[in-house]
Symmetry: C2
Subunit: 143 residues, 2 copies
DNA sequence: ATACTTGCAAATCGTTTGCAATACC
DNA sequence: GGTATTGCAAACGATTTGCAAGTAT
């Protein structure tokens, strides 16, 4: 339970990717700066509200996308109709608990791909995403 | 360019999974019965319209989900905000052309996973999805 | 001073729902 | 005839947009 990086560090990080360190972006970046996290726009907005930070939902969406575009965050696609943003931008994969909608990182070293097919001609690999979809065992029992 | 399976075969297939062979379901199942395909609800609806088949969009959604629930189709998640349905229900993976939204199958044998981490305690693996995201080389050149 | 950001509310997208009319067994 | 299915139009959740007001450099 630390306070995370000081504002100055966050301001620096924002500046370094070309984003003006506005009050809203600083606050959101700080909320996202602790441990590895997977957040949805709505939940980050709620969290900000709860922390007494005035930010509109539209601004949260703007900021999240700008963070993704500048490499501060990564988007994870596991559910049609809902976007998740991952604070861990290094190469890794995910466990996805379908029942709860929770995501958990799989460190790069824990999952290895052998025999990856070459990209079709004219195309280039942007990223390889592996999602291991999970059901809670209890759910299974009930069919 | 064949006509695909006869109606009787399709009717049988629908019956075998417990779905009443209605005019709409038969028509949709037939549209989906050729080669391996990846369709979105909207596009299947347009296709049906173009083929002179009267089906409402709501019914297309209903049918697609029923087909998924009964194992006739598989859902592929590659884009937040849009669902794709895959007529290939066997174990395989996907190339995803981000620019065009096109999907292409990767046969199971072409991609192998080594070192798959065990499911977290209390959870069970439902499926492992690998998506290789691609950019057209031309896009890259333009930055 | 200027360009970039924000917040609001309205608009949009894909999808789902309630329910009366209709089709299948 | 009785139940499952359909179509419509309205409702929906998540996300995006236009634009006037506010803020960073």
């Amino acid at each position: 339970m630390t306070d995370g990086p000081a504002s100055t560090e966050i301001v620096e990080r924002l500046r370094s990717v070309g984003l003006r360190p506005t009050r809203q972006r600083i606050a959101l970046a700080r909320l996202l700066s602790g441990a590895d996290r997977h957040v949805a726009a709505e939940s980050l907005h709620s969290e900000a509200q709860a922390a007494g930070i005035a930010v509109s939902l539209a601004t949260v969406y703007n900021a999240l996308h700008q963070f993704v575009d500048s490499g501060l965050l990564r988007e994870v696609v596991v559910d049609p109709g809902k976007s998740y943003f991952d604070t861990n931008t290094s190469q890794h994969h995910h466990f996805y608990f379908e029942a709860s909608g929770r995501l958990e990182d799989i460190p790069a070293g824990d999952l290895t791909l052998a025999r990856v097919p070459p990209a079709p001609h004219g195309a280039q690999v942007v990223r390889v995403d592996v999602v291991i979809r999970l059901a809670e065992t209890d759910d299974i029992i009930m069919q």
